[in-house]
Symmetry: C2
Subunit: 340 residues, 2 copies
């Protein structure tokens, strides 16, 4: 099926904030293939997810600015001639947000407001697609979770992410800066940070499997989650960026079906032909901000633009493992990771 | 009926942020009468609502620090020995938040996080009651609005206020800093800012009536609101501060019954024996962030601590008009307003 955006991005001036990060860089690869004019902002803060190697193969076809979103003057300048902004820059560690809440606020709230103010002043015709998160729902009251579910974040990161999202909606509604937000569930795939375990467990599990190491699953592993392969997530951004139906809306972007941690790890180990699993007691700090079972209903987004998750977990794991086996040194070794 | 807090506040060390403001100062008067040890923080920023005259009569029985909540070092020090913090400091103008969103963020998000961090580090046993707002609900889907209604703020102020509220809940849930939030509807009464019209219409209407001036009602005046007399609002804070049932919860604190703007103004003019009314077209900037009809269901709070609004609009207006007739020069004239 032809995607809704068809030839929309050819020659289109696009900005990706957090464009050297996991989802941003996969989106950059897609946009280059679609002949877009791609500008990337990334702070490359140690441990945050940005990795110059993520644009390996397209480095001559994109323009990269190593800039912190907190630097308002840069953002102010860089938004000016853009048609579409994919706004993915953020601090994504839940645990870090509890240890250093002010930094999380500066990046996930203040910088979002600065970006939107820059658009309002210098480029009110731009379209902005914000990377939201299912974390804003907290412990769900019912499953699957629709966009009508109460927002009830369980940590500082969830609060700041939802404030960042609300700013986009208010700027859409009041200042006509066309904007929408995609509330992503657990995204996985090539170019994800796997250097440490503070940005979600899925990348970390993949790394442990790759290195034939032991995966620790908390509790009995019965907790359910849904997973989106990064190519599907990138498609969701492309659809949202090209559709004015989406303006002023939030959409869940979730996986094909839920799976327990137990079965997820079983599948991963089977496909990787490596790694082991051990069930351990929940660490206190992680248990406190865990959200129990979660899976999203993405019907609203499907109805809006026709998007659905297409990649099975099996296919996604196969591609992901293949990617990291070829490129592992760029993702686990700090020395190599900083070479482009 | 004996209030739930009974002798709770006698000798109790209390901090009121925004304590020279409207609700904060009325609360201070009540706490002094209850023999509490009252410390007040207020920035006294021009036009924000703080007024030294608001503690006229109790100035020798409270300790006042003219400090901006954005000054983390002061807050850090002042929370240390307190038993209860009534956290009412904030930027409250919706229009100002759209003109200067960063200042609103600094005060309503960042400073809240700093206050809670100060509690976490230096006084984890403290109880915090946060002044939330019904503005977080935006345009309601159904009436009356319960706490189960989606949060969908229509302006930057609403977003930052709800982030501030969520921080309190997360610090309650994760760090055991006992905290709750009262989502106040339209509060009115003595000591409210009536110098300008940017902090809600009710105080401004009262001033126009007092000065026998013309009150402009937008549209046909059919929009519904509920109003809480400030003594009832202060009672709500006292109840929440003394009750551990409230920890981790948000509660609507609304009026006895809804009334249209049309009937509200009619009643006000009748009681004031002064003023006139004219119906005018909505100004663009105000229409954009108006929320239509709104009234709150406060049953959850009633069930928790037994609180209900008790003061009729008629009685509330009588007391308010009487107060301002005696003290008007301290509320309309900048020169006098700064004398204590």
């Amino acid at each position: 099926m032809t995607p809704g955006y068809d030839t929309f991005y050819a020659g289109r001036k696009v900005l990706i904030t957090g464009g050297l990060g996991f989802i941003g860089s996969n989106l950059a690869h897609r946009l280059v293939a679609l002949d877009a004019d791609v500008v990337i902002i990334d702070s490359l803060i140690q441990d945050y997810g940005g990795n110059p190697y993520n644009i390996h193969g397209i480095e001559d076809q994109v323009s990269v600015h190593v800039v912190d979103m907190r630097d308002e003057h840069s953002t102010d300048h860089l938004v000016r001639d853009r048609d579409v902004i994919f706004n993915l820059a953020g601090q994504v560690s839940h645990l870090d947000s509890m240890r250093d809440p002010h930094t999380d606020l500066e990046i996930n709230c203040r910088s979002q407001l600065s970006l939107l103010e820059a658009c309002r002043k210098h480029n009110p015709g731009v379209k902005v697609v914000f990377a939201g998160t299912r974390q804003v729902y907290g412990h769900p009251d019912h499953l699957p979770v629709t966009e009508e579910h109460l927002v009830r974040p369980v940590d500082v990161n969830g609060i700041n992410k939802v404030a960042g999202e609300y700013y986009h909606l208010v700027y859409n509604n009041i200042f006509d800066i066309r904007a929408c937000s995609l509330r992503l569930t657990n995204v996985y795939g090539p170019r994800q940070l796997i250097k440490h375990d503070r940005q979600g467990f899925i990348g970390w599990f993949i790394r442990l499997a790759l290195e034939n190491d032991e995966i620790q699953v908390y509790g009995d592993g019965s907790q359910l989650r849904d997973f989106v392969y990064v190519d599907d997530a990138a498609e969701a951004f492309l659809e949202a960026g090209a559709s004015d139906t989406c303006n002023g809306n939030v959409y869940n972007v979730g996986g094909i079906e839920p799976i327990s941690h137990r079965n997820l790890v079983k599948l991963l180990l089977e496909i990787a032909h490596a790694g082991t699993v051990r069930y351990v007691t929940w660490p206190e700090d992680k248990k406190a901000i865990d959200i129990g079972n979660f899976y999203a209903d993405s019907t609203k987004f499907k109805n809006a633009v026709g998007w659905t998750a297409k990649t099975t977990l099996r296919d996604g794991f196969l591609s992901t493992l293949d990617f990291y086996r070829k490129n592992l040194r760029h993702y686990v070794d700090a020395t190599h990771a900083n070479e482009s």
